[in-house]
């Protein structure tokens, strides 16, 4: 099938890209280069579009129906599963906060882990939040950004969806360097993976209207996905070229002149 070759090619590009981005991360960390903020760098668009169609078919066949079944669970149960999955992310987020030079966030994430694992019964509950202990959601993709790595090319990864090269490397490193491997027994890790799946299904159900409108109701779901992912990820990272970055002036002769400066 055509899909399969595209996916294989996609994987190859992803692997190649990952290596490249990692190298690039260190090179540009030294060079300290800045990133253009509104550009879309998608040289393998034709292949990516095929992977997008594949991912969409996975959503149609598996993810969407499974998420509907999952949403039948009572809310408190779902929340418990989410809490459990989120809690297991905290050691990695603590490490990333440290690598980013954010000691406050590292302390917050570590404290949340300790409190929720003990008082919160293995992370099923989130008493830390009620106690006002706030952490900071993060990942190695953000760490790479802080270190000055370039975003790299955009693409879709089979089963994972939209990613920039930098964030794909981040995902790989987050899995490989997860400190959880050292501190929790393997049974808990298995439960953690199950909870992770549950929380993905829960998210798919919770944001179903938004996701459906992008994937199934837009005229070009590929470009809508790309736009949404890049804009939101850049927003999360604070990767903006200035406060007026999002400004499109519809009263100018060419409204996208500044915005699209590619």
């Amino acid at each position: 099938m055509e899909h399969r070759t595209a996916i294989l090619r996609g994987c190859r590009i992803a692997a190649h890209g990952a290596l490249f981005a990692l190298l690039g991360a260190f090179v540009s960390a030294c060079a300290g280069s800045a990133n253009p903020t509104q550009t879309i760098n998608d040289p393998d668009e034709a292949d990516n579009r095929q992977i997008h169609e594949f991912n969409k078919s996975v959503d149609t066949a598996v993810l969407r129906p499974a998420s509907r079944a999952y949403a039948v669970l009572p809310d408190p149960v779902e929340r418990g599963i989410n809490n459990f999955a989120d809690n297991l992310d905290l050691p990695g987020e603590t490490l990333n906060s440290l690598l980013q030079g954010r000691p406050g966030a590292a302390v917050g994430n570590a404290a949340r882990f300790v409190v929720n694992t003990t008082i919160g019964i293995g992370g099923l509950f989130d008493p830390a939040h009620a106690m006002g202990i706030e952490g900071r959601n993060t990942d190695f993709g953000e760490t790479l950004y802080i270190w000055g790595a370039n975003e790299g090319v955009y693409g879709e990864v089979p089963f994972l969806g939209p990613r920039t090269e930098r964030d794909l490397v981040g995902d790989v490193v987050d899995v490989a360097l997860n400190p959880l491997r050292l501190i929790v027994p393997s049974g808990v890790r298995t439960a953690g993976r199950a909870a992770e799946v549950g929380s993905i299904l829960g998210d798919r159900a919770r944001y179903s209207e938004t996701i459906d409108s992008v994937l199934y109701e837009s005229a070009d779901s590929y470009s809508q996905t790309r736009l949404l992912y890049l804009q939101n990820r850049r927003f999360e990272l604070g990767q903006t070229g200035g406060a007026d970055d999002a400004y499109i002036d519809p009263y100018a002769i060419d409204p996208y002149e500044d915005f699209d400066a590619q």
Binding site: D220, A246, Y247, I248
Partner: protein, 207 residues
């Protein structure tokens, strides 16, 4: 920015000069930054949100709500500017009638497309927290509180270059509505082989 209208002309000036100056100013008006103040822009957003909430909580039928949303959209947003921007370069070669028919159809399409998501906003609250001048508009910064969700940031770009204060863009957690709309309308236009009348017809029928 100083007000460019000749309101401060001394009464000793001849009315002819005044009339002439006013005429020139009126001709230039759409092209001038009118220095919309942040207070007015804030008030516009607060009012628009309150009106939308009123419709959502009114218990009206969906059809009636869509009509309300369309009316509110045309009152608080600069729909012609949004429609023109969504159309992109294609707008340049289109006739005035084509643009106006497109704008009309687009207005209803937007009201239905975003209006059908109204359930997500039941019991929600949008709090305006700040406003600041931008290049030639005002950015109103607000936080949205939806049920079962972490609060998120919504930014509104407001201008009075249409002759009245109106918003022309909404940015939700970095996601730019005008940019998404342009991508979407561009793709729809491609499907209609670049024909704006065909696109207009499709938008009119789209639920």
């Amino acid at each position: 920015m100083p007000n460019d209208l000749p309101f401060d002309l001394r009464p000793s000036r001849r009315t002819v000069t005044m009339g002439l100056a006013a005429g020139v100013a009126a001709a230039l008006l759409p092209w001038r930054a009118q220095a919309l103040d942040t207070g007015t822009a804030r008030a516009l957003v607060v009012e628009a949100v309150a009106q939308v909430n009123r419709t959502i909580n009114s218990g009206k039928s969906e059809g009636q709500m869509y009509a309300d949303f369309e009316r509110l959209f045309s009152r608080y947003a600069d729909v012609p500017a949004i429609a023109r921007t969504a159309l992109g370069v294609a707008a340049r070669s289109a006739s005035r009638q084509e643009i106006s028919a497109f704008t009309q159809a687009y207005q209803g399409y937007i009201a239905r497309k975003y209006g059908k998501r109204f359930r997500e906003f039941i019991g929600s609250e949008i709090k305006v927290i700040d406003a600041r001048p931008m290049k030639s508009a005002v950015e109103v910064i607000s936080t949205a509180y939806l049920r079962n969700e972490n609060p998120f940031e919504v930014r509104w770009h407001v201008s009075d270059r249409s002759g009245r204060p109106a918003f022309f863009n909404i940015i939700i957690e970095g996601v730019n509505m005008l940019a998404s709309e342009r991508a979407e309308v561009g793709a729809l236009l491609d499907r209609n082989r670049g024909s704006i009348p065909a696109l207009t017809e499709q938008l009119r029928r789209a639920s």
